[in-house]
């Protein structure tokens, strides 16, 4: 189905159109969320939240951007919200662990993450890189994940971030510099000695 009729059908509450949109886009949404949260179950929860949001608010979608861009925007926002919630929980767990015998924030720290879409020999390096990406500021993280992990062009990323292509290039340059710094620190700490 073409994007315009699909949008019309979605706005009329057509269940088949919703299923078709899901079939066409679920891998994009899931993989974007997976890049942020590095956990399959959490990424599925975010994917669920994204499609529920799409179903509820598609009537108010005016089509000023493409449906895919809009979907990516919702995914990015939901993923960042999830990370904030997780950070809050972690702080609270650390605080409560001061008064109880529970282990605290370590429980909420994601364990070693093996991305299912990465070749086996690259899994360890990819895990190190995802940990470094996690430390980037939100905008740099989003620009990096959308271009390097999702493979979007700079123009598409600019559309999702609602900014200019120049700004995206600047974000990517700063993100790469920061990643190099993080990785250099990791190398000195764990690889070199």
């Amino acid at each position: 189905m073409e994007p315009a009729p699909l949008l019309e059908a979605l706005q009329q509450g057509d269940n088949a159109a919703f299923g078709l949109l899901y079939e066409q886009t679920n891998r994009r949404v899931y993989n974007t969320a997976l890049g942020y949260v590095r956990n399959r179950e959490d990424a599925e929860d975010i994917t669920q939240e994204v499609y529920v949001e799409v179903f509820r608010s598609v009537r108010s979608f005016t089509g000023e951007s493409s449906l895919t861009t809009w979907l990516y925007r919702i995914t990015v926002n939901k993923s960042l919200d999830f990370l904030k919630r997780r950070q809050r929980k972690k702080r609270f767990a650390v605080l409560t662990s001061l008064f109880t015998a529970s282990p605290g924030g370590e429980q909420l720290q994601p364990a070693t993450f093996f991305h299912p879409g990465i070749a086996l020999e690259q899994q360890e390096n990819a895990d190190i890189l995802f940990r470094a990406i996690d430390k980037l500021p939100d905008k740099q993280k989003t620009a990096y994940l959308l271009t390097r992990v999702e493979g979007l062009s700079h123009i598409e990323t600019a559309g999702v971030l609602n900014t200019s292509v120049g700004a995206v290039e600047s974000l990517l340059s700063r993100a790469t510099d920061n990643l190099r710094k993080h990785l250099a620190g990791y190398y000195k700490k764990f690889i070199e000695p």
């Binding site: 269940n15 994009r28 669920q48 390096n125 990643l179 250099a184």
Partner: protein, 108 residues
């Protein structure tokens, strides 16, 4: 920066180059449909209505509280004064002689 370190960093940075998109749980769509169906049965009240109701309730509580805490003497005096004025206006004096304290008020 040492050449080994530079090589390692470049290897790590390129580890996502051949990443392939993966699919979520095949039952996720069914789960989403179930959630949407469950949510449709629920009646959602707009936030504005909830705030209006809460504000109205708070206002009513405040008014009741202020009425209950108003000094009783002031209202009693007002009531007595209005009864006296009403009695005088309507000339509602007792026809049957009644015993009054001679030193405390008129003896009709």
């Amino acid at each position: 920066m040492k050449p080994d370190q530079e090589t390692w960093i470049n290897t790590v940075l390129s580890s996502l180059d051949d990443l392939e998109r993966t699919s979520p749980n095949p039952f996720l769509l069914a789960k989403i449909r179930h959630k949407l169906a469950a949510d449709n049965g629920m009646v959602l009240v707009p936030k504005r209505t909830v705030w209006l109701a809460a504000a109205t309730f708070a206002l009513l509580t405040l008014l009741n509280w202020s009425l209950l805490n108003r000094p009783a003497t002031a209202s009693a005096t007002t009531t007595q004064a209005s009864i006296k004025a009403f009695v005088e206006d309507m000339q509602l004096y007792p026809t049957v002689p009644q015993l009054y304290d001679t030193w405390n008020g008129p003896n009709y």
